[in-house]
Symmetry: C2
Subunit: 144 residues, 2 copies
DNA sequence: CCTATAATGAGAATCATTATCAAAGAGCCT
DNA sequence: AGGCTCTTTGATAATGATTCTCATTATAGG
């Protein structure tokens, strides 16, 4: 069902694991919703069909294969979302009131500027940069 | 001992809580190290003197008063660091291997560029930006 | 169809964090 | 100093998220 199935299947087989129905369900649930979700939330989203422990395992496998990415939020909860190469590169607006996380994509000009900046920053420290993520804290429309 | 003691004391009394020795120890430990630390790490840093549950409580009180700031990292661990008004504005280099977090301060030119960028970004969404934090993921010297 | 291997389910175990409650400490009034 | 009240602490139990275990089931390849 998910549009990306083909590519995900490929990626998983490269990692040497199967794209089983359980894992497909997790991916489908993640594509159905519009933001990062925790294992427990996904378990509910799937109607409790897939046991929690399996959800965790699927997420671990999918993360290992680079299909999903973890997003660490308040209260020690880890939420996952589809990886950037599937969902597109984006940044986060975090509401300091309600904790909601909103995805935002930068217009190309700004994104390029940011990338150049990240390059310079990691040059300053002896650090080989992989990815970057700009987190803007503020107050969302609902909480204003 | 910490340079900021006076200001912290003031801030805490405004919040209506005492600046006790336990809390002073936590602050001292946080000023002694050079990056975000978890409750457990601080407990060790203080030689196991202060019990873990007290460290958690102190951190909660200090966060409430705006003296320290939480930083949510990998695997459900929350690390704290001194608030920006005490430690200065900075960004984080996160090692994807060992999870270590290193503080980095941008040279003024870059920081100004970044601020301008953040302004434009929050303008795109209807979001009133408060702070921002650039997180660069990569591999630290030790893990290379 | 058989066999070897990978994946799953259910529950126990672990780790970070929070809550509880009795005891110790600080501020205050006399 | 003594007594009173309110805050803080320490030790420990409880909670919640995540990981592990292991017996069972599914899958791919012959």
């Amino acid at each position: 069902m998910p549009i990306h199935d083909r590519r995900i299947e490929e990626r998983l087989s490269e990692t040497g694991v199967r794209y089983t129905t359980g894992r497909r369900h997790v991916v489908a649930a993640l594509e159905r919703v519009d933001g990062p979700r925790s294992a427990a939330e996904l378990h509910l989203e799937m109607g409790g069909e897939v046991p929690v422990s399996s959800v965790y395992r699927s997420l671990a496998v999918l993360e290992e294969a680079g299909v999903v990415e973890p997003h660490h939020g308040a209260r020690g909860i880890t939420r996952y979302e589809m990886a950037e190469w599937l969902a597109g590169h984006h940044h986060h607006l975090v509401c300091i009131e309600c904790g909601a996380v909103e995805d935002i994509e930068l217009p190309e000009g700004l994104e390029l500027e940011l990338e150049r900046l990240v390059g310079q920053v990691s040059g300053l420290a002896s650090f080989s940069a992989g990815g970057h993520s700009l987190e803007v804290d503020g107050c969302c429309v609902r909480c204003r």
